[in-house]
Symmetry: C2
Subunit: 306 residues, 2 copies
């Protein structure tokens, strides 16, 4: 393993620890009424995970950070923390609702009982419902130009809504047992997973007041990695074992859900992920050396084994 | 009935029709993928209701509208429409989730099957989940100063979150069969119903770029009517018949939920509502004659029979 790769993995785990602390501070404390709801919100969000979305915020911010900034350094860091926390809250709420009996009916997540098992269904529903507006509240607190907050709000709202994550979930539900075209599958994944990954990259740029050309480069990058993320998920669903995944492998295939692997075959799916990987790296070229962390994130997403 | 009261009821039903058209235009069309989700979202939001929250937006805007505004009239109207649509979307989403089997398990709302009955539980869950970010997207599109959009975002986010509507729902769930103090009951209602009514009034002011003193007057007014709304709901729960209510009366009392009537008795609860009514009207004095519609809304909320 090269020095760069070691540095990247140290950076990534450092960011995961950092955002965990930020989230622990930002979430309502358990003593605040309604205590049970607040306990459920904290349980939903805290306790790890790879924090890929938060890391994308930080990496995108680093890629666009001006050498001489008018933003004081602590404000610049706080804006990134708020944006990173916002995308993690939206991701966490989606997992809580996704695990509910009327959706995937999962009882375990990251080796712990899911929220509706640990608490109850109504509390899990409300915890998810309450995490979503908190994310928008955090964006509104970013110490950046108001115009950029408004843009960030639109980006996150679209990523979360019916033409983003929630829409992708709905298509996923409808597609069980259906034969999807590759185009339709790609559309579903772009909404379900890609939209929030793309918003994470965009919000990182906005948090450091990135220029228009920088934001265009980010956008091309994030479209490629958003899709690559899902292709690799489908590959891992059939190739990884449950210890690596932390969940039951082959579950999607067993549920008769269309995946890139069932659609293209394993080797072509891997090749497609490789192609998207290259497309993401090419998109970073205009950003120069400061995009090293974003390149690292692309490697991480495509080369991960779980 | 006085001429003023007739005018007010004409205004109110006109606004209800208007916001219905605005919402029909703003919501994703049914043909757009995912069609089933979009159908469920439209079913959740459209089809009437008193539109009290939208009316509060418009009435508050009228109370604060400058005689000579730098905002062109069409933009000023559109900002109000977007704010009114946003609060109606949040209200509609809360009803959809509230009706779910794990919450109140209601099968009828306004005489129609609830969303999870008409569609299915997963679709109802996702429809609610997708309505919430759409509300924030609409606020971000208001043609007003970005600083005011940011403030509106914070107001709506807090009204919807764990220290607002979702928090009130959680306390409500926990309070079944409990003896609450009046203070605790008031806190629950302030969160569950009052917070969004208050945000509606605040957003109306922001949509027309109200001054600080105007926004302070709005805030005092809305705190009083937010609470009055719930006291009257509790009174109607025991005094109205089901044709008036459009739902089963006595349901809260039967569910052993604490209400203002069970806590204070019927006559004192009515007297308390009257006191809040007077407090709301007093708060409007600094706004002068332009606050007539807000006064009408206070009368409407306290004197309604359903």
């Amino acid at each position: 393993m090269s020095t760069v790769a070691v540095d990247f993995s140290v950076w990534l785990s450092g960011r995961a620890q950092h955002i965990e602390q930020v989230l622990a501070r930002i979430l309502p404390q358990e003593v605040a009424v309604p205590a049970r709801l607040h306990r459920a919100m904290r349980y939903s969000v805290l306790g790890g995970g790879k924090r890929v979305r938060a890391a994308l915020v930080y990496a995108a911010a680093r890629a666009c950070e001006p050498v001489l900034s008018v933003q004081p350094a602590p404000e610049r860091a706080w804006a990134q923390d708020l944006a990173a926390a916002a995308v993690e809250l939206v991701h966490a709420y989606s997992l809580v609702h996704d695990d509910l009996p009327c959706m995937d009916d999962d009882v375990l997540r990251r080796g712990r009982p899911t929220v509706h098992v640990e608490f109850d269904e109504a509390t899990a529903l409300l915890a998810g419902d309450a995490l979503q507006p908190l994310a928008f509240d955090l964006l509104a607190q970013m110490p950046i130009a108001s115009e950029l907050i408004v843009q960030a709000t639109r980006d996150l709202a679209r990523a979360a809504g019916s033409l983003g994550m929630a829409g992708g979930q709905a298509i996923d539900l409808e597609s069980v047992g259906q034969a999807l075209t590759q185009e339709a599958l790609q559309h579903m994944h772009t909404l379900k997973t890609g939209a929030l990954l793309e918003a994470s990259v965009s919000l990182g740029g906005l948090a450091v007041e990135a220029t228009e050309p920088q934001r265009n480069a980010l956008s091309a990058y994030s479209a490629a990695i958003g899709l690559a993320f899902q292709v690799i998920d489908d590959v891992l669903d059939v190739t990884a074992n449950s210890a690596q995944l932390g969940k039951t492998p082959g579950k999607d295939a067993a549920a008769n859900k269309p995946t890139y692997v069932t659609l293209m075959g394993l080797a072509p799916a891997r090749a497609f992920a490789g192609e998207l990987h290259q497309r993401a790296l090419a998109a970073l070229r205009p950003l120069g050396a400061s995009a090293a962390l974003l390149a690292g994130m692309a490697d991480f997403i495509v080369l991960r084994d779980h």
